[in-house]
Every structure is written in structure tokens, then in C-alpha cells.
Amino acid sequence: MPQDMPPSGGYEPVQYRRNLPVRGFRPAYYLAAVGVIMTYGFYRYGQGIREQNELAREKMWSRIYLIPLLQAEEDRDLVRKTLASRAMEKELLGAETKVYNSDRFVRPTYAVTPANITK
């Protein structure tokens, strides 16, 4: 009568001894790889910083070249407003009053608002 017997050759041997192989490269190689990657990263970072400095220099010089033009325009506007306010003062009060004892230009504290709304 058929019974549940082991296979005819027997079972294969069971592994009972430890099998923990040591893997990996030498630690020095790992450190070297990390060092190389970090050096490359810092090199690229430094390149980027240098390029940013050059771009900042370009931006500053373009602004420097434009400053006299813009300042001259603003000065003309300021002179126009000052002369207009002096003329208005002369017209309304009759004489120009000096607030300070020197001739230096000081931005006036009070501004006369025109009677007609201009804008």
C-alpha cells in the first residue's frame, strides 16, 4: 500500500553553520569616493558663486552708467518744482521768505497746494 515516504535519494543536507560573508570595498575606498564627490560638488558651487559675482558686477556697472542720466532728469524736475513754488509764493505773498540763514537748498516743510486740481 503506498505511504508518504521520503524521496528515494534522501533529502539534501540542511545548512546549520553560519554563512555571513563580509561584503563591500575597503572603507578607504568609500571615503575616497565621498571625498571626490564632495570636491566636485564644491568646485561646481564655487564656479556658480564666481559667475554670480561677475553677473552682479555687470549689473552694478550698468546701473552706474545710468545714474547721471536719471539723476539729471530728477534734478530738472526738482528745480522746476522749486522755481514754481517760489513764483507762487512771490505771487501770493509778495516777497520770498528765507527760512534758514544759509543759501543751501533745504526741502521745504510746507507745500502750497494749488487751488485747481491738476490731475
Binding site: 553677473l55 549689473k59 552708467y65 542720466l69 532728469e73 534734478d75 528745480v79 514754481a84 537748498f105
Partner: protein, 158 residues
């Protein structure tokens, strides 16, 4: 405190009285920021003497610079206006492309090198004005001549 800001709550009040006739009139440069930025190095190349005169006048005037340096200011405005006029006459298309690109890119010069190169070469040929960055280190190519811009957004605009 003499610099107190006025507070007008309802209306904008601008005194539109023009300059008196004793002061000579000058054609104002009515340009917005992108064309001015685009042409700034050319203005610097042609108008260096006038700019230096104006800044020296302002530093030495000691508070009265606005009234006393009007003459130098007019020279500066006329020179810059002439640069813009010449660039418009000879290199209009390249100039326009470049400043439109700057308008689209937050006025960042490094995004628009593709249009800056033809503009620079056209202006150098026709007007003999070269873009130079003073103070740049001598042993490397200047940043506007480099083939690869590290910070540009896309390779197409380099």
C-alpha cells in the same frame, strides 16, 4: 524735520508749471527700464566724460547741486539721447528683441545673451561702441562673452 511726506487723501496734486524760459530746454529721454538697461553699456562707453563731469559737479556742489549742475545734466541727457537715437537708427531689430527679452525676464541680463550677442556686434560695427565691464578679472572671459551661462533658465536663450 524737513523731509516729511505730505498726505493728500483724495487727489493727486501735481504742479504742472514748466521750467522758466531762462533755462534752456532739452529733449528728455522718455525711455522705460528695459531699453535703458539694454543700452546702458553703450551710454557708458560714449558718455563717460559727460557722466564724470556731472558726478564731479554734484559732489563738489555741496548741497546746491540741483541748481548749479543743470548745464552738465543737460549735456548728459543729450549724450544719452544721442546714443539711443543712433541705436534705434542702425540696430533697431536687435535692440528691440533684446529689450523685449529683458522685459520678459525680470531685467536679468544673463537670460538674454542670445539676443545680446547680435546687438553687441551690430553696435560695434555701426557705432563703434563696445560693451566692457570695468574691474572684471583679466584672466577669464567676461561674463557676457561666455558660451554657457550657468544660471540661465533654458539652453535656447543662452
Amino acid at each position: 524735520m524737513s523731509a516729511r511726506q505730505p498726505r493728500f487723501n483724495q487727489h493727486l496734486l501735481i504742479d504742472t508749471t514748466p521750467l522758466p524760459d531762462s533755462i534752456p530746454k532739452v529733449q528728455e529721454v522718455g525711455s522705460s527700464s528695459a531699453p535703458l538697461l539694454s543700452a546702458s553699456y553703450f551710454i557708458g562707453a560714449r558718455c563717460k566724460a559727460y557722466n564724470d563731469d556731472y558726478m564731479q559737479c554734484k559732489t563738489e556742489a555741496n548741497g546746491k547741486g540741483e541748481m548749479d549742475c543743470l548745464r552738465e545734466g543737460r549735456k548728459v541727457t543729450r549724450c544719452a539721447g544721442s546714443v539711443l537715437e543712433d541705436v534705434n537708427k542702425s540696430c533697431l531689430e536687435e535692440f528691440r528683441k533684446h529689450w523685449e527679452c529683458l522685459d520678459n525676464n525680470n531685467q536679468q541680463l544673463w537670460q538674454c545673451r542670445k539676443w545680446e550677442r547680435p546687438l553687441n556686434s551690430c553696435v560695434f560695427e555701426k557705432l563703434n561702441l563696445e560693451k566692457k565691464i570695468p574691474g572684471a578679472p583679466e584672466n577669464e572671459t567676461p561674463v557676457h562673452l561666455r558660451k554657457r551661462q550657468i544660471f540661465a533658465h533654458s539652453i535656447m536663450t543662452q
